[in-house]
């Protein structure tokens, strides 16, 4: 299908909306009626046709507007994109991975022509036509990582692998769930995860690191993570916390369905061929609660998950203050019926809400 790109905003007047297509393919992150941390990795080798898992780098109706929002964030704060000097090669690896993947997966939107190191990249949605020399930074308007990630949805952490650890040595971070690249750059896997409660005690990070360090070329992995965000704001950065934080206080029982969003991250992991680095794209999907509950199974389940979530997790994910109001809203969409296993909406088999 040809994607109709939305003209929308993720700030100020918040005109972001999901179409029915986007709602139906939303990556609902709960495979059962409760949630606890886990190393919920699976192979990233496609998925059901039309799902967000199908392509290596999913492009959806929000693409053009998300890239506009990224450019605004970077203009305000260039420190959101940084690469330590030894990471340039990994940046070229990433540029190649994305250009090859997108041109193969979306030939109507992206084209890549290669003649030795003379490359020609066409990005139709963003109106870009760029000829450049692969591995020659002077032939691109930005460094290779910044160049390609200004054209790709999601944040990117580019990790160096050495000393039996992964090091966050480069990245572009404009749609994050409240962490600072500028602060965390240069840290190892355990250090940048240090503020996450409970998970270290559960051995999550040790197991995750072991898994990630063994990811091989051509065998990427993925997992989902989630949090809650008031208003469809991509840039929920700590840098701007004092600007978006007050919006959390604007929820009312009347506007909560429209303003409160479930924020889901599709995290993928690809080995990079020349640098042996690992790229960790973190793609953010937002959905208003009022849209989410149009899927009966998701309404039932989200109510149960949020209601029963351990307090530390609600605190860490930053919605403690609004939790009661969210649970109250969602309870209207939970009739107590059992739900089917797995994340899929199962609209044809799950019963409608019984009222």
């Amino acid at each position: 299908m040809t994607i109709q790109f939305n003209d929308e905003t993720f700030r100020d007047d918040y005109t972001f909306r999901n179409s029915q297509w986007a709602i139906d393919r939303f990556p609902f992150p709960f495979h059962e009626d409760s949630y606890m941390y886990s190393v919920n990795m699976e192979q990233h080798q496609g998925g059901p046709a039309g799902s967000i898992f199908e392509k290596r780098f999913d492009v959806d109706e929000h693409y053009v507007s998300e890239m506009r929002d990224r450019a605004l964030v970077l203009a305000e704060d260039p420190l959101r994109c940084q690469s330590l000097p030894h990471m340039t090669l990994a940046g070229w690896d990433l540029l190649e991975l994305i250009m090859v993947s997108k041109s193969e997966d979306y030939p109507d939107l992206f084209e890549l022509h290669r003649d030795g190191d003379r490359w020609h990249w066409i990005n139709r949605p963003l109106g870009i036509d760029q000829k450049f020399t692969f591995m020659d930074e002077a032939t691109l308007p930005y460094g290779p990582m910044e160049y390609i990630t200004r054209q790709t949805q999601g944040d990117f952490a580019v990790l160096d692998q050495r000393d039996e650890n992964l090091w966050m040595d480069a990245g572009i971070v404009t749609t994050q769930a409240d962490w600072s690249l500028d602060f965390d750059i240069g840290m190892n896997f355990f250090e940048w995860h240090a503020p996450v409660p409970l998970a270290a005690e559960m051995g999550i990070f040790k197991r995750a690191l072991k898994f990630l360090m063994n990811i091989q070329q051509g065998a990427p992995a993925r997992r989902l993570n989630w949090t809650m965000t008031v208003n469809p704001r991509l840039d929920t950065s700590p840098e701007n916390y004092h600007k978006w934080g007050p919006q959390k206080m604007t929820l009312t029982p009347e506007n909560i369905g429209r303003k409160q969003h479930l924020r889901v991250e599709l995290q993928t992991f690809f080995r990079l061929p020349r640098s042996n680095g690992l790229v960790f794209p973190i793609r953010c999907y937002l959905i208003a609660l009022e849209d989410l509950v149009t899927v009966p199974k998701w309404g039932r389940r989200l109510h149960r998950v949020i209601r029963d979530l351990p307090e530390e997790l609600a605190e860490y994910k930053g919605f403690t203050a609004n939790r009661a109001m969210i649970v109250d809203y969602l309870s209207k969409f939970d009739d107590g019926l059992p739900t089917s296993d797995g994340i899929w909406p199962d609209k044809d088999t799950e019963p409608p809400l019984q009222v």
Binding site: L79, G186, W192, H193, A194, P195, Y241, H242, G245, P246
Partner: protein
């Protein structure tokens, strides 16, 4: 007593050790204020270190208290500086001229150790090979996550950013690259609702 037992914390927070003599071709010792006590103890453990030692010392508010005693150690080089900042070019020059077999010892406040550690690691010395010992003030060097400004000598939580004026709470999350802990706006969600400042570790 100039020592302090830091409570257990998250994995990004540095854990300071105790200085002990190590075999080396030369010894670079950087200390501020009560950090001098740790150097005196180190010299007691192995006086022969001092013939190959370069001490850089910033007495700060301790004034002359330890200077005479450090002189008595007769280190190969003794530099007494008015501030760490003033000594950074000297430190960089020293590290640039360093050879294999250099041992680095850092002692004193977390701010001093963190910043000197950064210089040493930038010069190619792995941070795990550098010895440290905390002495003296428990004040923190804080980076404001909002304006990126550094506020030195933070003793309370919350505190006011010396650059942008926001009220920040003190996190244990620490960046070796910034040699600083992270400060985050305490009243972001409810502007004006700032809890009264409490002394750190009280």
């Amino acid at each position: 007593m100039s020592t302090f037992e830091f409570p257990p914390s998250i994995t990004s927070r540095p854990v300071w050790g105790k200085l002990e003599p190590r075999a080396g071709k030369s010894h670079l010792m950087i200390a501020d204020a009560e950090g001098a006590e740790a150097l005196l103890k180190l010299a007691q453990a192995d006086g022969s270190l001092m013939t190959k030692a370069h001490i850089m010392y910033f007495p700060g508010e301790t004034g002359d208290t330890y200077i005479g005693k450090l002189e008595e150690l007769a280190p190969a080089q003794l530099y007494i500086g008015p501030s760490y900042e003033a000594a950074v070019p000297r430190l960089r020059r020293t590290l640039a001229g360093a050879h294999m077999g250099l041992q680095v010892y850092l002692t004193g406040t977390e701010s001093l150790m963190g910043q000197a550690m950064r210089e040493a690691t930038d010069a190619g010395i792995p941070h795990t090979a550098i010895q440290t010992e905390h002495r003296g003030s428990v004040a923190r060097r804080m980076q404001c996550v909002h304006c990126k400004g550094i506020t030195e000598n933070v003793m309370t939580d919350p505190f006011v950013c010396s650059h942008c004026g926001l009220n920040l709470f003190v996190r244990d999350h620490y960046s070796r690259r910034h040699a600083a802990f992270q400060g985050v706006c305490v009243d972001a969600e409810d502007p004006g609702n700032v809890p009264p400042p409490v002394e750190l570790y009280s």
